[in-house]
């Protein structure tokens, strides 16, 4: 069976935030460049996964972007409603990240890696 690691073991930061009043953007900033490269190569964080985690149409996932300089991956979705519109639950969009904490990343353990 392929081994996995929970995303929480791999990141310094997972956060959500408005990117303007019509989008919410998610940031994953990894603990090291090695970890980042491994997650990036696994392609596990992609449009389909984000759509599944939030139960939204894949068309509403605007982009998933790798940002090498910051060892970060960024995903952006269309807001369910513009920030502060009637029915709003999170004006700043800063508490929409929790479903991302369950992501499991395929992780081939190297021989010399300790438990």
């Amino acid at each position: 069976m392929a081994e996995t690691k929970n995303i929480r073991e791999l990141v310094d930061v997972i956060r959500s935030k408005n990117a303007g009043p019509y989008e919410i953007t998610f940031d994953f900033i990894f603990k090291s460049f090695d970890i980042y490269e491994k997650v990036k190569a696994s392609k596990v964080i992609n449009e389909r996964l984000i759509a599944e985690l939030y139960d939204i149409a894949i068309e509403d996932v605007i982009s998933v972007i790798n940002y090498d300089q910051a060892k970060a991956i960024k995903a952006t979705i269309v807001r369910p409603r513009s920030s502060g519109a009637v029915g709003e639950t999170d004006v700043y969009g800063a508490q929409q990240h929790a479903p991302l904490l369950s992501i499991e990343v395929p992780w081939e353990r190297s021989k010399y890696e300790e438990d």
Binding site: A19, G20, Y22, T25, I29, Q69, G84, G87
Partner: protein, 453 residues
């Protein structure tokens, strides 16, 4: 070496900064003190209602230190998105504070104000000429929606601020401005590359948030040279690291490599971040790509009604199990009781904290795992009186409804407050976040100079 030195005291005017950090910045002989005073983040209310989300006393405290320092050193002080949203009442509010400071401290200076609020008829004309386009996540605008806007502002680029500097302004209070411009305008006027100037401004508008540990209430110092810029947090407890600065570039942006702004794109694909010394980061390679057409972002908000809310909770497991049913019955009972009202007259919403109160439509996990839930009953109606009426009726109905299996017959809700219903006033929504194409970057921003002698 030719360089331009910029002091950014705080991430938002009114968020404050330590005087020690500010003094350290002044010792470094800045050519400019600039600050971003607003954001769309706090939501549409502030733009629509024409009020600031920042506190007057806190804004005055920050501005007093900045303007006095600018006058002492004969360097410009520039603030953008005055009053938090950058419309006409916001600008007026901020200028009033500046005047107060000038009077109290006996200061004489040339003050420039730059209006960013737009005339609705003018914008309608632009729309009819085909000069307004939409962003992918926002959707198209129509005439009816434009007419419904309570207030429209436009995000200025560097040009109107440069114009004010050319007119000899010493203190500039600008309406809605693209965040980096208050830092970049003097740099671009002095001939520095726009890509570096704007990228430096993009980071400095958040002051020390790009440092480690980060803070929005502490000062940052930027030094711009011909082919790079340096960033140094002014509190010795903080450092800029290549990762803290690069990571900040991600913040609140969909695409960190191409930042769209007035007149073009800041392109960061060739940007390099280097550790210059232990606390300073050097940034190079950022470019500005001019667009064929000069576009400006418009922001508008419209009034949608008045809000009344009631906050309550329940600890009863049978009630929690029946909650969806209870809400349905309350909604029906309200509809029946006020059947002369139209559906468009009010909206009745229930938010269940402990279930999906935080994530709403985006919540994938709808099972309640806790012993209690928080409930807000919210009504948005065409008048405050109607919002009060519907909220009151929904609250009393929910309190006493005999749901299936009920054993606790004294009341279904726990209210923390008396009165239980809170009037929240006017409700606004963003209804415009579109691009306006202009021939002249200064076309929709009027600069006015007042001499304080």
């Amino acid at each position: 070496m030719k360089e331009l030195r910029v002091l950014s005291p705080t991430a938002i005017l009114g968020y404050g900064f330590p005087k020690e950090s500010f003094a350290r910045g002044l010792d470094k002989d800045p050519d400019l003190i600039a600050v971003d005073a607003g954001s769309t983040d706090p939501g549409p209310y502030y733009l629509g209602a024409g009020v600031s989300f920042t506190d007057r006393a806190a804004v005055k405290r920050d501005l007093k230190l900045m303007i006095n320092a600018g006058q002492d050193r004969e360097i410009p002080v520039i603030l953008g998105t005055a009053g938090g949203a950058g419309g006409a009442p916001h600008l007026e509010w901020c200028v009033e504070i500046v005047k107060e400071i000038a009077n109290e401290d006996n200061l004489n200076f040339k003050l420039a104000t730059i209006q960013a609020e737009q005339d609705k008829e003018f914008i309608l004309n632009k729309f009819n000429q085909g000069d307004i386009s939409h962003l992918p996540s926002v959707g198209e605008i129509n005439e009816e929606e434009l007419k419904a806007s309570t207030r429209i502002v436009a995000q200025m680029g560097v040009e109107p601020i440069i114009k004010a500097l050319d007119m000899g302004a010493e203190v500039i209070v600008a309406g809605r401005a693209y965040d980096p411009t208050v830092f970049a305008s003097l740099c671009i006027k002095e001939g520095y590359p726009a890509g570096l100037a704007l990228h430096m401004g993009k980071i400095m508008e958040c002051a020390s948030i790009a440092a480690n540990p980060g803070s929005g209430s502490d000062c940052m110092f930027g030094t711009l040279r011909d082919d790079h810029f340096l960033l140094e947090p002014l509190n010795p407890e903080r450092k800029c690291t290549t990762t803290s600065v690069a990571a900040h570039t991600l913040y609140e942006k969909a695409n960190p490599l191409q930042l769209h702004g007035p007149g073009g794109i800041i392109d960061l694909t060739g940007t390099e971040f280097e550790q210059y010394d232990e606390r300073v980061v050097k940034v190079s390679g950022s470019k500005f790509i001019e667009s064929d057409e000069y576009t400006i972002k418009l922001e508008g908000a419209k009034k949608v009604g008045y809000r009344t809310i009631s906050i309550a909770g329940t600890r009863d497991p049978i009630m929690i199990k029946e909650l969806d049913h209870v809400i349905e019955v309350v909604k029906e009972t309200v509809r029946d009781n006020f059947d002369e009202l139209d559906e468009a007259d009010y909206e009745l919403l229930f938010r269940i904290y402990g279930r999906d109160g935080v994530m709403g439509d985006l919540e994938p996990e709808l099972e309640v795992l806790s012993n209690e839930v928080g409930i807000t009953i919210e009504v948005v109606a065409k008048t405050q009186e109607l919002a009060n009426t519907i909220c009151s009726f929904a609250r009393s109905t929910m309190l006493h409804y005999g749901y299936p299996g009920r054993v606790a017959t004294a009341g279904n809700l726990a209210f923390p407050y008396s009165p239980s219903d809170l009037k929240a006033g006017e409700v606004y929504e963003f209804n415009l976040y579109h691009l306006l194409t202009v021939d002249d970057p200064c076309e929709v921003f009027s600069v006015e100079i007042t001499d304080y002698r």
